[in-house]
Amino acid sequence: MSTLIAILVIGVIAALFGALLGFASVRFKVEGDPLAEQLDALLPQTQCGQCGYPGCKPYAEAVANGEAINKCAPGGEDTIKKIADLMGVEVQPLDENHETDNSPKVAFIIEEDCIGCTKCIQACPVDAIIGTTKQMHTIIADECTGCDLCVAPCPVDCIEMIPVATTTQNWQWDLNNIPVVQVD
C-alpha cells in the first residue's frame, strides 16, 4: 500500500512538473534564434564575407550551429574573445587564412582611372558606392565598412584601401607613438 502511495505521489509530482515545464516552454518561448542574434551583435558588421559567409548574420547563424569562431578577420582577437565568452568555448587565434591586419580602412576610388563598369557597386555589401554605367563611381566614406570586397572586381584596379587617419578626434592616447621631433 505504502509503495503504491509513494508511486502515486511521485507520479503526481512528475506530472505536475511536466505540466509546469510544458507551460513554461509555451509561455516563455523565445522567438527566433537568440544566440545567433547575440552573436550577430558582436560581429563588426562589415559584411566583408572573409569568413566565407555572405555577411555577418549568416556567419553568426553558422557559429550558433557550430562553425569555428575564429573566422572574423575585421573583428580580430577582440571579437573572437567576445564570441568565445558568449559561446563558452576556448578562445582561438584568428584563422590563419586571414590577414591579421584589421586596422580600420576605407575604400577610395582613384577617379581618373575609373571606367564606370559598376562592378564594384555590385560587390559592395552595404551599397556604399555611388555611380552608374560609364560614369565615374565614388565611395560614401561614412558608409564604407572597409571590407575590401570592391577591390577584387575592379578591372582597372582603381580602388585602394586607405587606412583611416588618426586625428585629434579619434586619437587613442597612445603616448608611445608621439613623434618627438629633434630641434636644434
Binding site: W173, L175, I178, V180, V181, Q182, V183
Partner: protein, 354 residues
C-alpha cells in the same frame, strides 16, 4: 636634446607601497618588544624563521612567475606577512609549524592568487587558521608568561625547544607549560573559556594566575604595545582610522551588551580589548588594504562585522580566540561590502541625497 612625453599628472606625492609596508613593520616593534619581555625569545625566533622562509618562498615563486624579483621581493609585503605570522604563533611552537605556515601564506594565499594586491585573504591569518586546524596541539601550546614559569628559559632553551621539542635539560613543551602547582597553563582567553565550561564564573576565572591583576599577565602589555604601534600608524596616515575604530567599538558594544545581560558568563569589555590578538588584529590585520574593504563606509562595516564575529566566536565558538577566523570571514565579505558601499559619484542620484 630630446623631449620626453608623459601622461599627466606629472608630479607625484612620492609615496611608495614599500615605504608603507616598512612603516607597518616598524610599528609592530613595541608589541614585539612586549612579547619578548613577557614571553621570552620564542616569538622573535619564529619571526626570524618566518621572514627567512618568506623571502625564499617569495623569491622562488617570483622567479617561477617571471616577475621583477628585485622590485617585488623587497616591497615589504612578504616580510610583513611573515612578521605578523611570527607574532601570532605560540612562542614554543616547533620550527616546522612556522615554515609550513609561512610557505602556505606566501605561496598559496598570496602568490597563487596573483601576488600582491590580488589575494582575497590576509595571508598571515589564512596561514594561522590553516595551522590551527592542521596542528591543533602545537598551535594551542601557548607558553605562559616567563614570570609564571616553573623554570627559567633562556634563548638557548627556547631554540632547543623550537627545533627539537625539548630543552637541553630534557623538558618537553608540556612540562614547561606546567605550573608549579601542577596544572597546565593557557592563555587568559583559554582559561576563561575552560573555566566557564567547568561551571566557574568569569569573576572566579579572573583569579587565575595567568590573568593576574588585570586582563592577563603580559597580554595586556602586548596589546598595549600594538595599540601604541597602531596609533603611530594612524598618526602617520599609513592606515585609515575607520577599520580599527569600528572594530574596537563593535567589540566593545557587543561585549558590553553581553556583560550587562550576563556578567557571570561574560568577560568585561576591557578584557576583550586587551587579551588575545585584539589590538594586533585591529591595527595590523584588519587594516590590510588588499583584503579589506576600500570605501569609508565599507571599512566601517568591515570593522564592525569583524568585531561582532570576534565576540561571537570568543563567546560561543569552540576556539578561545577568534581574530583570525573573524578576519577571514570578513575578507570573504569584503567584495560584497565594497559592492554595496560604493560612494555616490559627484552629480549622480542627486535626488536620493536630499
Amino acid at each position: 636634446m630630446a623631449f620626453w612625453i608623459a601622461s599627466s599628472p606629472h608630479n607625484h606625492q612620492q609615496s611608495e607601497t614599500s615605504a608603507l609596508m616598512r612603516m607597518v613593520i616598524y610599528a609592530t616593534i613595541p608589541g614585539i618588544f612586549a612579547q619578548w619581555y613577557f614571553f621570552g625569545w620564542g616569538n622573535l625566533i619564529h619571526i626570524s624563521l618566518a621572514v627567512i622562509t618568506a623571502i625564499i618562498a617569495e623569491f622562488t615563486i617570483l622567479s617561477l612567475r617571471k616577475k621583477q624579483i628585485t622590485q617585488q621581493l623587497f616591497d615589504g609585503s612578504a616580510i610583513l606577512t611573515a612578521v605578523l605570522l611570527g607574532i601570532s604563533l605560540p612562542a614554543l611552537a616547533p620550527w616546522w609549524v612556522t615554515i609550513t605556515g609561512t610557505v602556505f601564506a606566501i605561496v598559496v594565499v598570496k602568490q597563487l592568487y596573483g601576488g600582491l594586491g590580488h589575494n582575497p585573504f590576509n595571508p598571515a591569518m589564512a596561514a594561522y587558521v590553516m595551522l590551527l586546524i592542521s596542528f591543533p596541539v602545537q598551535m594551542t601550546s601557548w607558553q605562559p608568561p616567563l614570570s609564571l614559569l616553573a623554570m627559567d628559559i633562556q634563548l638557548t632553551d627556547t631554540l632547543y625547544v623550537i627545533f627539537s621539542g625539548y630543552t637541553p635539560q630534557g623538558y618537553s613543551v608540556e612540562q614547561i607549560r606546567t605550573h608549579i602547582d601542577g596544572f597546565t597553563m593557557a592563555t587568559p582567553l583559554d582559561t576563561v573559556k575552560t573555566n566557564l565550561t567547568l561551571g566557574l564564573t568569569v569573576v572566579e576565572s579572573m583569579e587565575a594566575p595567568t590573568i593576574g591583576k588585570h586582563f592577563g599577565v603580559g597580554w595586556e602589555w602586548i596589546n598595549a604595545g600594538f595599540l601604541l604601534g597602531g596609533l603611530f600608524l594612524l598618526s602617520k596616515k599609513a592606515i585609515h582610522w575607520t577599520t580599527p575604530t569600528s572594530f574596537l567599538f563593535s567589540l566593545f558594544v557587543c561585549s558590553f551588551i553581553a556583560f550587562i545581560i550576563s556578567p557571570d558568563s561574560s568577560a568585561s569589555t576591557m578584557f576583550h580589548w586587551f587579551t588575545g590578538a585584539t589590538m594586533l588584529g585591529a591595527f595590523f590585520i584588519l587594516t590590510d588594504p588588499v583584503s579589506g574593504a576600500t570605501s569609508v563606509k565599507g571599512r566601517l562595516i568591515f570593522g564592525a562585522l569583524a568585531g561582532l564575529l570576534v565576540f561571537l566566536i570568543r563567546k560561543f565558538g569552540g576556539y578561545p580566540d577568534a581574530v583570525a577566523f573573524a578576519v577571514l570571514l570578513c575578507n570573504m565579505s569584503a567584495p560584497l561590502i565594497d559592492q554595496y558601499t560604493r560612494p555616490r559619484t559627484y552629480g549622480h542620484q542627486l535626488g536620493e541625497k536630499k
